[in-house]
Amino acid sequence: MYKIAVIGDRDSVYGFSALGMDTYFVKPEEEPAKLFKKLCQSDSYSIIYITEALAAVIEDEIEKYADQKTPAVILIPGTTGNTGQGMAAVKTSVEKAVGSDIFND
């Protein structure tokens, strides 16, 4: 049985702990890559939600887990607002598969 992790700044993610997810508070300058790596390698999480603001800092790390079945790394908007990065990730996979972004609207 796997669990779900949520990574982000405190205000954005503390609510998720009520649902029974494991929340990790980290600021962009506090080595989020290290924490992210640890969570991925612990192999106890199948889904890791991460705020867009934080994901922007550790893009390379996230990329490494893109072609593995678990964990699924999903970007969510934080309290600082929606940067559109999560949607951009969807577009990237379309571009990868089709060759160009065909949902350009």
Binding site: L19, T70, A97
Partner: protein, 215 residues
Amino acid sequence: MAATQVNPTRMELSRLKKKLNTATRGHKLLKDKRDELMRRFLELVKENKLLREKVENDIKKANSNFVLAKASMSQETLNASLLAPKQEIYVDVSEKNVMSVDIPVFDYTTRTPDSNDIYSYGFAFTSSDLDDAVKSLADLLPDLIKLAEIEKSCQLMAAEIEKTRRRVNALEHVMIPDTREQIRYITRKLDENERSTQTRLMKVKDMMLKEAHGY
């Protein structure tokens, strides 16, 4: 002329013919695979987009609810109320095979079946805004899990499509034409050998006739 030199022998010719056959069949199969993968992918990615829009909106709403909750409570009470969650969530991962891509299927179970267990605090010292905020997040949960499943599937399928497309192109533009060229080369060479043997025999026959009959 093909890039690699081949021995112009019958053995080699039949080997290459077999290879061409396999390559053509493989090419057809891979092309079919690519087309079907693409169809499924496009369906999935459309769903992914819609779901993501919805989830992002809902999270935004939930976040503003939490801000409201935070405004009407002290920071300490807020922290304490969510410090020890009652509910726990477990995800069961199974696989679904779509055109040889293993995509994950997430099924989640909660530790207790009681949906009210998301409220891990007494109601005496917390504001009702917090209840609303937690509720709005809990309502979002099925969609969040579904989003994770679909988005991961999209990523995996995109990678597989890219790989398959490369293979199809390599077969179509390199492997098959090269093999054809090599087969043509061997056929020509063998024909040429045939003809040279033929003429040599005719020549020898002429010489023998001349020797025997003197004409």
